[in-house]
Amino acid sequence: MSKSAPLIELDNIQKTFFSPGGDYLALKGINLTVKKGEFVAIMGPSGSGKSTIMNIMGALDSPTGGTYKLKGKDISNYTNDQLAEIRNKEIGFIFQTFNLLPRTTVLGNVEKPMVYADIPAKERKQRAMKILERLGIADKASNLSNHISGGQIQRVAVARALAMNPAIILADEPTGNLDSKMAYEIMDIIKHLNSKKHTIVLITHENDIAAYAKRIVRLKDGLIESDKVKK
């Protein structure tokens, strides 16, 4: 893959939700390309399709029309297990809520994606500890995930997203549950990751959070309304 080749290519992506009460066309043909190292914020009011596009980009769902190429490979028609592998190796998720596994330590949470990738226990631990150190929460490694604060939870979530060194970090309203001070802290971390060549796709409806991104894509009614790169 050459450096300029796009990481994500969405070509006329459509998504219809079928239901007995009538089908609903959530995405009406999205064309979007994200290159390596970009920091894109996807914005839009609720019902605009931003969650749906994030689910498709994150290989959590398949489009009903169009093609999705990730690193040049068309994954539109992948099986559930193939998608699971993509999520494991290429995507690092940061969700708004319920980010960490209960009954599991901080270290265990960060190690978990590596468990599914069959990375040996010793290497797992080393890698996880290194990431936790980078994010300044190594001292919480053996705490249970429900014994740390909200800001720390999101830091651990960032650490877990980095565990497999994925192609993209997908953050779905990562600051939605945090007060503004902690929200900016997390955004600073995400911004810093981008400066280290991590590709970031951020879903948000808050302008001040979106302002951290270099490019803002606005959705409306299942279509792209605007796509602006900050100068």
Partner: protein, 404 residues
């Protein structure tokens, strides 16, 4: 994903809700422990009885009044008599018969000096020595001179001797008292093989006629034992003796015998049959209990899957495949039932051990039963865990993540 990782997360999940885990296991524990308990005790009883019998040898059979196994215990009908015993010895002309002996039995208070206790009193002829082969510790056994007329002599068991006269004392020449009559001790016996609880050790033996006249007051006997030379011909000899006794009693062809012949092998077989039947019955009841336990496991696993829907969504988002989720929940249900099964095995064996000590039978651990119990309990976990685990595995990641 490695097996040990799955095992770890199953362990964490089960520890997370100890009370629920324990209650779910209870059904399995009850099922498995009852099978283990009953089969261990049953086998212990059979082992005990086999050992008891083998100490007497297997070259003889018993004739008792009444019909069948139950009839033999309660007696009834036209009772067998001393004359029957004499006729078998003197008139039957069956070559294989080595010896015969008639027995009568009761319990009485026996005293010697200050000591007094209740013992089993047996009336027997001198010929019983040939059949039952008691070990003589002191003095002599009953001899032919004691068979006829009144002879107030007795041969007592080693435990009786110890109770009445003290440990390691030779009581030959001393007297014991039964129903205000004195009997001179002429010998002390022990059961062959020395198995505790064997009948010679605790018995007070009197000459048959003496006992009939002085204690029972009639000529009734309870049992005739017949020993044979050739053990391989035992069944043939039993048939011959049965025909002979039927002739003596003028029974018609179509009438059933009003007495019962039973060899040690027969008795052992009967007891084994009863034990086997009992074990099968308990196994059947336990199977029901295991199914109920299994349904309990399934129920809890379904609740667990629902409760942990969001968690399953998160695991899928970070790369868990369907089989990873399936395996995780399956291991949880198998762990539940397997650990339940192991606890059941432990409780069952512990209970059997206690009971074996109390009733004084050997404590038998059947490896086959234990392995079977453990396998069945894991199987229950697999069967009843499969549906909930599949349900978890098939969850759509987005719907699971959105679940409230």
């Amino acid at each position: 994903m490695r097996f040990s990782e799955v095992l770890n997360s199953a362990q964490e999940a089960l520890k997370g809700n100890r009370l629920r885990t324990a209650l779910t296991m209870l059904g399995i524990i009850i099922g498995i422990s009852s099978v283990i308990l009953i089969s261990s005790i049953g086998q212990g009883a059979v082992a005990f009885i086999s050992e008891e019998f083998s100490s007497f040898g297997t070259n003889f059979f018993q004739i008792t009044s009444g019909q069948g196994f139950i009839g033999a215990m309660v007696g009834g009908g036209n009772p067998i008599t001393k004359e029957d015993a004499n006729a078998i010895a003197n008139e039957s002309r069956i070559d294989n018969i080595e010896s015969e002996a008639a027995f009568t039995f009761t319990t009485r208070k026996v005293s010697a000096g200050e000591e007094e206790d209740t013992y089993s009193i047996y009336g027997m002829t001198s010929s019983s020595q040939i059949i039952l082969k008691p070990v003589i510790l002191y003095g002599d056994f009953l001899s032919e001179v004691h068979d006829d007329g009144i002879n107030s002599v007795t041969v007592i068991g080693v435990d009786v001797a110890e109770d009445l006269f003290g440990v390691d004392t030779n009581p030959v020449g001393e007297s014991i008292r039964i129903d205000n009559s004195k009997y001179r001790v002429i010998g002390v016996t022990k059961s062959p093989g020395g198995f505790t609880g064997s009948f010679f050790n605790n018995a007070v033996n009197l000459p048959l006629e003496t006992m009939a006249a002085k204690i029972i007051g009639n000529d009734a006997i309870q049992e005739i034992d017949v020993s044979v030379y050739d053990e391989n011909q035992l069944n043939q000899t039993m048939d011959d003796v049965e025909s002979f006794l039927r002739d003596r009693r003028d029974l018609d062809e179509d009438e059933e015998s009003d007495f019962t012949l039973q060899s040690q092998a027969d008795t052992l077989e009967t007891i084994q049959n009863i034990t086997g039947l009992l074990t099968a019955m308990v196994a059947a009841i336990s199977a029901i209990s295991l199914v109920v336990g299994g349904v309990g496991v399934m129920n809890i696993m379904l609740v667990t899957v629902t409760e942990r829907t969001k968690e399953i969504g998160l695991l899928k988002a970070i790369g868990a495949k369907e089989q990873d989720i399936l395996l995780q929940f399956l291991i949880e249900s198998v762990t539940l039932s397997l650990v339940g099964g192991l606890i059941g095995v432990f409780i069952g064996l512990f209970g059997a051990f206690i009971i074996a000590q109390v009733v004084n039978i050997p404590f038998v651990i059947s490896l086959v039963t234990v392995i079977l119990a453990v396998s069945v309990s894991s199987l229950v976990g697999i069967i009843f865990g499969l549906y909930p685990a599949r349900r978890a595995a098939k969850l759509h990641p987005i719907e699971a993540l959105r679940h409230e």
